[in-house]
Symmetry: D2
Subunit: 350 residues, 4 copies
């Protein structure tokens, strides 16, 4: 349905990569115990820990991104704590208040291109520590960042190290939302590896939903024992899948290596980046201006409103924001499923 249009709305508009569909079909009538206690989940956990070079990590598979954020944040925070995040962070704007439903305040920080700085984080923590009335305020207990951010930008390794250091100094958790992590990992400008994340963050999640899985995210606690009885917390927060093995089969597939030792997860990200690069080039060649410099698979372009109107007859994409009286910014997203033909088609319409 609706196949006549080109789709650049987001990276979760299709099903799953063929390898996953095949693996699900191949295992469909097998019987396994539920809730992630099966062998497929166990194997996927091992593959992920190996990819992270972090044998002590605890890995859990949850249904989706909002579920994951709400569950991990509530599991790690005490009742009197809140989470520091960019004002533009997904948890602060697009999760229907799920974090507050769990009882925690989001301590929103000023951001630049979706990123917050170690200096601003430290200042926020010190503002609490130095406030004589701090008992009447919410204590920062965690820093939430996304990699890539909601603007498609990336934290550099140096930036992440600084944030991680500040978190350790003040004894609060660092949690990284990796909903689109595959595209960060595949980005030529990126210098933060999975292993870096495992060393620098207390917890993060490896996004499946937007990176080639039907659905599902892999939560990694990089040290054991951070979230006791996490399974109960997961179920309580609506993040549990009864047939947990569906997640195990998917992440086992995503973290399988080809004969050259490359992870499928990396290759899916690369498709998103390759098509994004091609699209970026086409946009530039047509003389459009970018709203901001976003190195991953989200591309923000300033266009005349009349052109946007016309383009939207043939292409699905997201209106982002008004720029001036006659121009607006729109967002094109490529992904694991974007084809060369999709880009050619869009380029022809630009």
């Amino acid at each position: 349905m609706s196949q006549q249009k080109l789709w650049f709305m987001s990276d979760y508009m299709e099903g799953a990569c063929p390898e996953i569909m095949e693996a699900l079909a191949a295992t469909n009538l097998e019987h396994t115990p539920g809730y992630g206690t099966d062998e497929y989940c166990e194997q996927a956990r091992e593959k992920i820990k190996e990819a992270l070079s972090c044998p002590a990590a605890e890995v859990h598979f949850l249904v989706g991104g909002t579920q994951t954020n709400a569950t991990v944040i509530d599991a790690l925070l005490k009742g009197y704590q809140g989470v520091i995040a960019a004002a533009t962070g997904h948890i602060n704007v697009h999760e229907s208040g799920a974090i507050e439903f769990g009882g925690h305040k989001i301590l929103a920080l000023h951001q630049k291109l979706g990123k917050i700085s170690a200096a601003d984080i430290e200042a926020r923590i010190l503002a609490y520590n130095n406030d004589p009335s701090r008992d009447h305020t919410v204590m920062p207990g965690m820093v939430y960042i996304s990699q890539p951010t909601e603007y498609g930008t990336l934290y550099s390794l140096k930036e992440l190290q600084e944030i991680s250091r500040i978190c350790k100094v003040y004894g609060i958790y660092l949690y990284v939302d990796g909903a689109r992590l595959a595209y960060a990992l595949a980005c030529p400008e990126n210098d933060v590896t999975l292993k870096d994340l495992a060393q620098l963050a207390d917890a993060f999640y490896i996004g499946g939903t937007k990176c080639g899985a039907l659905f599902g995210e892999a939560v990694v606690f990089t040290k054991p024992g951070l979230a006791p009885h996490f399974v109960t917390t997961v179920k309580q927060h609506g993040a549990m899948l009864a047939k947990g093995r569906l997640l195990g089969v998917q992440f086992g597939t995503l973290f399988s290596r080809d004969k050259d030792g490359r992870l499928l997860y990396e290759k899916l990200g690369e498709n998103g980046m390759r098509t994004a690069a091609k699209l970026r080039k086409a946009i530039e060649s047509k003389g459009y201006r970018f709203l901001l410099d976003s190195p991953t698979n989200q591309i923000f372009v300033v266009m005349e409103d009349s052109r946007i109107e016309k383009l939207s007859q043939n292409v699905n994409f997201e209106f982002w924001e008004r720029v001036d009286g006659t121009h607006s910014a729109v967002r094109f997203v490529t992904g694991w499923a974007t084809t060369e033909e999709d880009i050619d088609g869009l380029a022809a319409l630009l």
Copy 2:
């Protein structure tokens, strides 16, 4: 894996019925908008409303059973209200406290074979209404029942009508958990149809996870406007799937009719009931005693402990409870995926 054993542990140990796997494969690379706004969801909603003869119903697709219960209950109750349920109700025993996480007390009632009576419900409501200190207690705002119950038993149409009437008289909601509804509908002893549910309950859910889907449940509000902004509530409670069309495709398939006009959902239930009947017969013929008279796809059998021990080497099933010094009750569950060969295999081992 683990394929050498026979599986009677529960009805969610496999993937999905072949029709669903084919539909998911066929639509896999299509592009659709997310969160249930796609045409597959729309079509599935129409099919369900038609099957219910309830054109005014609102239908939503959620990820799983616990998510559904927690979301619907919190959406319909006021903050000062709780939910009446059997002490053995799934929400009271096996949902990790998800209802209380949402802030609501479960007002547990005495049950018989998993069922609560209209008389006991009315008495509970009156106990509140007549309590001069009722402002200091939790007001009953809903009745939760499951059809079939956690013991595999069924509410008769008459019982359901009585409960529905009491709910209407006192102005509280009736919500029916249909996690295993397909097996209720297919049970020869059952006289409650989908249309009856649509007329008698304010809300109920049609279980997918245990009835042939990979995952997913279809929530039905039988009157419009009961839960405004329900989508936001769904997301907040962790019950939202980004690629909502996966649920639409599945329920569209489950509610497709064959050339004789029969729903796939009904036929999947019938397989569960047919194999259950065959198994019940085998158990009887071997001289075992049933723990209780359960007409659907859960069969509770009393066995000598030594026999249970031995049987468990070749069969996966659930230990239920100790009966006496040398006997215990165990549970065998059949389902949409159970084969005649499975039953023959188990019968040979009994």
Copy 3:
């Protein structure tokens, strides 16, 4: 107003004991910092710790009983835990669902005369520990008992020691609701001292509201560090008083010693017990039957309905429950403010 009637409704129907009213008047126009950081609170804390022989204790002053229960329980429990309590426990029946509002399930136990047994507690913990599906249930994290209970009964020292031992063995908290603790301490049948409570419980509260204060309860954590940042939690749960010194002044007065070294708190309890004893005698002499044997300041009496009706024209008391077609049980409560004349007046009317 309404002074013509005799009042035996409960022990919080008057203001405060004269000593407290005087202390509040004497300090009324002094300036102090807020929220319990003043010297009166500090002095009261020291007096309480001295009375407990527990110098390591942490003492906090909260507004009322429900606030205290909701705050302490949520402060000590993890999100995935619930609290074991008698089905008749105040938190389970008369706190408007405040514990569930905080996200925790009450794991109600069968009780006898308001008391639960160490054996039943252990069985409940083992039921969780031995349940292969325990991850899907609520983990017991605390035992809540009240001393005296809602039926006016008392845990003996031996019973309390056994419960405390079970809690230690299984690593869960023991918390004692002492809303009416003064009457327990003053009861001739009681053998549990304040010092015993400090040794056996992880937390308890010394009731002020029902024991001679205008309002307020003193929470005792018997070991330091159990509830970090408790002040924030207190405020979040609505249990904080801005002018905290009002609580310090009151508890400093209640825990002042007379020239014989006796605490005012003990003497207020003794008044409640002395008048209760006198009333019990009067009731017996009139030939009434007690509903149950309650040794403290709540007296449950079985009466003919016609007599109850008539008595209620001159006396305020609580209807408790119907006993048979012509009899009901009622409750008379004495307290710190009950006078000999009150008892004589009631006796004359019985």
Copy 4:
């Protein structure tokens, strides 16, 4: 204690006005039913409704300000809604996350001197209404403002009318935090009366704690039926006082009229304003600069750090914020209890 210093820290550093202390003493040993069902509460409610010229109003007495805000906001909002407030609003900064504990997000708006504008409120509502992804965000369900604000500033009648109009147009509630309302009402610059509040707001509270009461706030719902079963919600949120009559006696006293028909509440506010005016004059005459133009009883003054240091040896006041390398702003608060001698004393030290 600590009486040697002058106190300008805040307006809740003392007990209660003498009239209240007398009324509490006079009624101390009377017996009344609890939880606000007594005649004193009833009389106080009538006096308040008369002062508001709003006979249809519902009036409830709660323990303190944070309790009141958390309770009213949760009572009026649906689970999927949040509350628009100034970023500097008390609920957003100094209530320990109590609003989020109740599950609601605070939608913080840019403010000027503690105030938000009708235009910004409308823009925020429209941002939600016009967002195609609004289902994934938190719906604005209420506007929270404080009168006077946390900076001591006032909404004019015109501003309040505009905000009220916007709320009505878009169907969301207007709630006014009147923690220091007596000082607003007594301010010469103020043109918003109690009757205006009753006409323009859906709910507001008349602050007692900071305006001459020992503690307590009077919640006014200006139309009946806005918050059904509010008493249960109050108790659940920790805002209930067992001996409710203490609040009735206090508010009955505060809303008593003298022979000239003036409310004690007004006169207490006038004392705060008279002493504030005198202090403001003294500060000006000494050549200090005000941080901002605050017309009520909070005075923000810029001083050299060395002078602040010295002054703090004899005066208790609050450090507000650093202004430059050698200056900071401090806050002096007068109140119902401030005397002319206090001002003379402070003036001499400036």
